[in-house]
Amino acid sequence: MESGFYGSSLDGNLKCKFEESGLANTHEIMEKAVRWFRSRSIFVVAYGTGCGAIEMPPTFTSRYDAERMGVVGVATPRQADLIILSGYLAYKTLRRVIRTYEQMQKPRYIMTLGSCPINGGMYWDSYNTIKKLDDYLPIDVSVTGCMPRPEAVIDGFVLLQERIRNGEKAGWEKYDENFEFYKENQKRVLGGHIDPSYETDWYNLKSGGKA
């Protein structure tokens, strides 16, 4: 497990070489540069789970134009950096969201809209809606409101970009570190019927990542 935000876009040897030749500074600069590029280009897969889905089109189209910040919608989780969950999550949805999230490539972020993913919102006593999404998946940015307007969503983007740029610890790292915790919670609520174990290596991170 590589440490730090920068990951392995340059391999360890190169990093060592930088340090050996007294260029640790260069490495830092490059890391900063990569973080800046990452913050400037965020591919979003918008998972319209609830009523918040309606807020996303205006966010990305002419009126509010998220693209000017480099935030672009993509279709598949493989290409995405950010998944937006825009409302309450039923158990059935949660299963799909987990799968989608795990198919995204690191670094990856989650942003939620509305209060339902935070505390269940008006579905607090439903027999099939979860109340605390952060028990199951690590959330990077929660935009509250019912529903948040596009301005708020864009504010969320800005916040996320700042966090990326600053190199703060992101949700996906927490997910990797507390993997057991998240999986246990998922198993509890999904009745043990977790998706097949062929998923990806994050099921067996400790044992070398072999499926």
């Binding site: 189209t61 480099g70 490539q105």
Partner: protein
């Protein structure tokens, strides 16, 4: 020669990305948006290259984007960039227009193998749409190219450029062929109304569904190289080539903007509509141009 090739690739990389940035920017402005910066595609590419993870479904999946990139680079190298200079002339003389026509398809076919290996049905659906579209898309372009070859009596691009010096530009001499080729070009650039293969609303993201990280970055980079090569090819064929970098940028940019403006105002065709359309009007236009060359030239 090697230095020149590297220079060319870098040039194409930069120019291609800036063009794509402009493409997004102009599109945004037409839609009444502010739009991303011109360098946005470059950011995207760097970001994708610096992704921590990349999935792969095996060696064929790994090689697909590489084959695609190879095809693009080879195409780029074989297209004469400057008309009156020896720049890479020894390389470009090894191929001809037919080689280019087929090289342009080699890359996508290689990538299609990777898509198939990925096993995502949406990806394959995209590939099949792309190949089906190709049936119609290549027709006007082929006719235009054949017309020019017959007019110049040579499939050597340098010769076609040289002919234009004395006989006048092909865009003026053979406007019908130019129109046909341009309609095809809109499709080759993946612009509307022919952006069928990657249609995100219908087939996920088409052929690119499973590609992530560095593979996606490689595909994007080769896309910009390839776009540049195609633009240069059109400039060579119809605008008499370019003798300096300024002219090259100017001419390619003109063509590029024309393609953007065609593409931006249309919705997407269905694949059968696209082929049907391409088989009718553009083909007819191009055939008329061709008939003029063959029978009255």
């Amino acid at each position: 020669m090697i230095f020149q090739i590297i220079l060319l690739i870098m040039l194409a990389y930069v120019v291609g990305f800036i063009y794509f940035g402009l493409y997004r920017n102009i599109t945004a402005r037409i839609q009444g948006r502010y739009g991303p910066t011109v360098y946005q595609s470059f950011y995207d590419s760097i970001k994708l290259f610096s992704k921590n993870n990349t999935v792969s479904y095996g060696w064929m999946f790994y090689l697909g984007p590489v084959i695609m990139a190879t095809g693009a680079v080879l195409t780029l190298v074989l297209v004469p960039v400057f008309s009156d200079s020896d720049f890479l002339r020894s390389v470009t003389s090894q191929g001809n227009l037919f080689v280019l026509l087929y090289l342009m398809v080699l890359g996508p076919l290689g990538n299609a193998l990777a898509v198939g290996t990925g096993g995502n049905p949406f990806g394959v659906m995209g590939v099949v749409r792309g190949l089906t579209r190709l049936i119609g898309l290549e027709l006007p372009f082929y006719i235009a190219v054949v017309g020019l070859i017959i007019a110049a009596n040579s499939s050597d691009i340098v010769h076609i450029i040289d002919v234009q010096k004395t006989a006048g530009l092909n865009i003026i001499n053979h406007p019908l062929l130019f129109i046909g080729a341009m309609i095809s070009m809109v499709g080759f650039f993946g612009a509307s109304p022919f952006d069928i293969p990657g249609a995100p609303q219908e087939v996920y993201s088409g052929p690119r569904t499973e590609f992530s990280g560095k593979f996606l970055a490689l595909l994007m980079s080769q896309g910009s190289l390839f776009a540049f090569a195609k633009l240069v090819l059109i400039v060579d064929l119809f605008l008499g080539g370019a003798d300096s970098l300024v002219m090259l940028v100017l001419k390619t940019f003109t063509i590029f903007v024309a393609i953007i403006f065609i593409g931006i105002v249309y919705g997407r065709y269905k694949v059968e509509q696209a082929v049907d359309f391409l088989m009718k009007l553009p083909t007819l236009i191009a055939v008329l141009g061709l008939a003029r060359i063959v029978w009255f030239g």
